[in-house]
Subunit: 199 residues, 2 copies
């Protein structure tokens, strides 16, 4: 109850977490101190270890403890395909399909001028260096179909085309099991525009 | 992208925060590692310091770095009144009214049988020892008007009455500036039941 410096500092420090405002930070601090001191200690240790050990994979830009991550080192993957995703979780989604066996490049974000995130912040030069290693033949753009993800895909496709690479974009359309009645008009329109020959 | 032990461990550790599920924990971990490493370090330091320095005030049970917190030590407060609140933030709300000058006791929770929180977990014996110090004349129950806060107030009032203390409960009714039209029926009914002589 008395303003306590280390309590205030903890509340302030918790606000670095995305989506955590002053009220939740306070709630979290009290919860940790009152109900989960072991969890708090584990979190402190986890943060320390992650900060010390994790850095970007020299090839795919995702997080790894090694110089190059296991996936990039795998000899069973098709090095001629490079799939560009926004975040590591997106690569995980691709992996779960078991339909892709190429390599990845993780942007660690998306173009977002309003947040001050441009080509420099995302280090596009590293991506271009990676994509023009002579082995990559096709770049598959798998950024999200949000406005920002789309803008990022368009921007990258121009610059990658200019470097003589084949560039593709994952498809939009109705989801598997999707029904026209319950799909939004934009998705149905897109599915119509991108219709394929039925064989 | 390769499952990385320290990354997984950080994600897991973040889940000790209340209201943080697997998805948010992942988002938080990536945010900290990618965009706010200084914040992550500050959080680790803040957790360590708070765990080391903060403990319960011997008198009011709130968090403090000292043996007894400043508020309990203050000689300008009326030691005959003891206000019982659920959490330190509730005491702060009371303080902001500038209408109370007594002391506090912070339960650090509320009775919640479903979560396994009973009188033992809240250490009611400590509260009874505090309230029966011979100086306290009136105990003001200021737990929340939720089901659990109400149950806690009822439970405490019986046991405090049995110890010969005067026990009161903060009032329910319409908020200041409140309009009947926009108040819920239960609140209006309560305001009617607890009507006072108009002088």
């Amino acid at each position: 109850m008395t303003p306590s410096s280390s309590l205030d500092e903890l509340v302030e420090a918790l606000r670095c977490l995305p989506g955590v405002g002053p009220k939740s930070a306070q709630r979290m601090a009290y919860h940790l101190l009152q109900r989960d001191r072991r969890g708090a200690d584990r979190l402190a240790r986890g943060l320390d270890a992650a900060l010390q050990l994790l850095h970007h994979c020299a090839r795919c830009n995702s997080f790894t403890e090694a110089e190059v991550c296991e996936r990039c080192l795998s000899s069973r993957r098709d090095a001629s395909q490079l799939c560009i995703v926004e975040m590591p979780v997106d690569a995980n989604s691709m992996e779960q399909t078991h339909a892709y066996n190429g390599l990845y490049y993780v942007l660690m974000g998306r173009l977002s001028p309003l947040d001050g995130i441009g080509p420099k912040e995302l280090a596009f030069e590293r991506l271009f260096a990676r994509a023009t290693d002579g082995v990559v033949k096709e770049v598959i753009l798998a950024t999200n179909f949000t406005n920002e993800g789309e803008a990022t895909a368009h921007y990258l496709s121009e610059l990658l085309h200019a470097r003589g690479l084949k560039v593709s974009r994952i498809a939009r359309g109705l989801p598997v099991g999707g029904e026209l009645e319950f799909s939004d008009a934009a998705t149905v329109a897109q599915a119509l525009r991108e219709r394929r020959d039925f064989v």
